[in-house]
């Protein structure tokens, strides 16, 4: 227990440390000693070598998701990929229709983009997920209109880690001739993605969620059937005119290497992480009034999102200063709003406020997990002893029947 280095990082869904192998590779593409050339320089070896590195990386990313390298467009990250996919498709196909469908629990990079399209005159339906966090296909079907041009559903939710059935949604979209975009920032390297099978037209990826660098991402743009997009960034016509801007060779090489490693190690890594996550869950779940948020089966290995009833989230985070975790309550960001994702699942405010997201990853150890269990139990017990709500619960008072004076 004493040999655990503090604080313990359990926020792999926020970002991952770069794999050493990735960092080493990237360093080869920066200085005068390395391949610093502009991949767009066609007239000399510096450019050719950089271009070759970019194309190798493109293939490494494509291999992870079983796509054609020509379907890979480099961007600055998943946020840009989501913007390019959704705005790009909506603008290009606006003569076909005016309606988009997405889900209330999407990342803000999708929700804020569709809000912008609404300001431009598009109509957007925001589906409510079931209390498991998964969407009901019948409700999705019912939301489809004759003028629906695009459906955007995230593969894995960033807060609760649930995996949507994108295979079935893809079939539905293809049948109806609707473009299907998937935000896969949280699923790449964690869930098998085979784009030769999946009927997905556009898919967003991030480098820094897969032990690669920040500031790099990918948009998969399907070739057959071909999906057209209106570019958001204009300039030198890089990336087949879809995303201008000098390619960041070192970032791209890093994301490629990260994807290569993910492809090779994903299966064994997932097994190890799942074992640790289950150990953590079992260790915490023997306390009273602990609630799991989101479906347990349709969930990535590294995510555990639980609420500790009668304990307020921010004070819990404060007690867990030796852990790097996320709170479902955005109190810490000064907005005092509980998580919109947990609210969309129908969780009440108290449980939404008291949720903690533990996300485990490549460098999480069993010692860290055991230390975490002890620490969380101690903190929850201490805070419950301080909590008037806990006393009321223990005395058999139904907290929902009390008339609270909201302030």
């Amino acid at each position: 227990m004493s040999n655990v280095k503090l604080p313990i990082y359990l926020d792999y869904s926020a970002t991952t440390p770069m794999d050493e192998r990735v960092a080493e590779k990237m360093c080869e593409y920066l200085t005068i000693e390395g391949q610093f050339g502009n991949p767009a320089s066609r007239s000399h070896e510096f450019g050719w070598k950089a271009e070759a590195a970019v194309e190798l990386a493109r293939k490494q990313v494509a291999d992870l998701i079983n796509a054609d390298p020509r379907e890979i467009i480099w961007t600055s990250g998943a946020t840009e990929s989501n913007n390019l996919a959704i705005k790009g498709a909506a603008h290009f196909y606006k003569k076909k229709g005016n309606h988009l469908i997405t889900v209330k629990t999407e990342h803000k990079a999708v929700l804020d983009t569709t809000r912008q399209l609404e300001r431009e005159g598009f109509e957007v339906t925001y589906l409510e997920p079931e209390d498991t966090g998964l969407i009901d296909l019948e409700k999705l079907k019912a939301a489809i209109r004759d003028d629906t041009i695009l459906i955007s559903v995230m593969h894995v939710n960033n807060e609760i880690g649930v995996i949507q059935d994108i295979a079935t949604i893809g079939e539905l979209c293809r049948e109806k001739g609707i473009i299907f975009h998937v935000d896969a920032a949280q699923s790449a390297g964690k869930v098998k993605i085979d784009l030769s099978e999946l009927k997905v037209d556009l898919m967003s990826f991030s480098g820094h969620k897969v032990y690669g660098p920040k500031g790099i991402g990918v948009l998969y743009v399907q070739r057959k059937p071909r999906i057209r997009l209106e570019a958001q960034m204009h300039g030198g016509g890089h990336e087949r005119g879809l995303r201008s801007g000098t390619l960041a060779t070192h970032q791209i090489v890093g994301m490629g290497e990260a994807c290569r490693i993910a492809k090779e190690e994903m299966a064994t890594e997932n097994e190890r992480i799942r074992m640790l996550r289950d150990r953590l869950y079992n260790g915490l779940n023997d306390m009273e009034e602990v609630y799991l948020n989101g479906d347990m089966e349709q969930r990535i290995a590294g995510n555990l999102n639980i609420s500790f009833n009668f304990v307020e989230g921010e004070s819990l985070i404060m007690a867990l200063r030796d852990l790097a975790v996320s709170s479902g309550s955005a109190c810490t960001s000064a907005s005092l709003e509980p998580s919109y994702v947990l609210r969309a699942l129908g969780r009440n405010d108290e449980l939404a406020h008291s949720s903690i997201r533990f996300s485990l990853g490549r460098y999480t150890t069993i010692e860290e997990v055991d230390y975490t269990i002890e620490l969380v139990k101690k903190a929850v017990t201490k805070l419950r002893e301080l909590s008037p709500l806990w006393d009321m619960y223990k005395a058999g008072v139904d907290i929902n029947s009390v008339e609270w004076v909201a302030h």
Partner: protein, 125 residues
């Protein structure tokens, strides 16, 4: 968010946590709402000569809410009801160096004092 030393101290070592058995000389105030993320329960025990001789609290809320209520239990002890009623949220916020987003915690603590005093007075009309 960075917490002040005083908030951390009260949070780590909260003073006067607990429950006083209900009686005529005890005033209990409970303010806030679970949905808002904080609930404070403050109890005062008043002596025959009108002095608050004991105070206890329980709080569901963030570190600043816990610290505000812990501080208030220290401050009300030894005061008359009128003196305790003069404790304002600005005093609490200043003492704990609360940032603007946490001012509502000090307001809640002031409300808790008022609620406890009201409850005591209702019992002893």
């Amino acid at each position: 968010m960075a917490y002040s030393e005083k908030v951390l101290d009260h949070y780590e070592n909260p003073r006067n946590v607990g429950v006083i058995d209900e009686d005529n000389n005890v005033g209990t105030g409970m303010v806030g709402a679970p949905a808002c993320g904080d609930v404070m329960k403050l109890q005062i025990k008043v002596s025959d000569n009108g002095i608050i001789e004991d105070a206890k609290f329980k709080t569901y809320g963030c570190g600043s809410a816990i610290a505000s209520s812990s501080l208030v239990t220290e401050w009300v002890k030894g005061k008359t009801l009128d003196e305790a009623a003069e404790i304002k949220n600005t005093h609490i916020a200043e003492e704990l160096a609360l940032p603007p987003v946490k001012i509502h915690c000090s307001v809640l603590a002031e409300d808790a004092i008022a609620a406890a005093i009201t409850n005591y007075k209702e019992k002893n009309q």
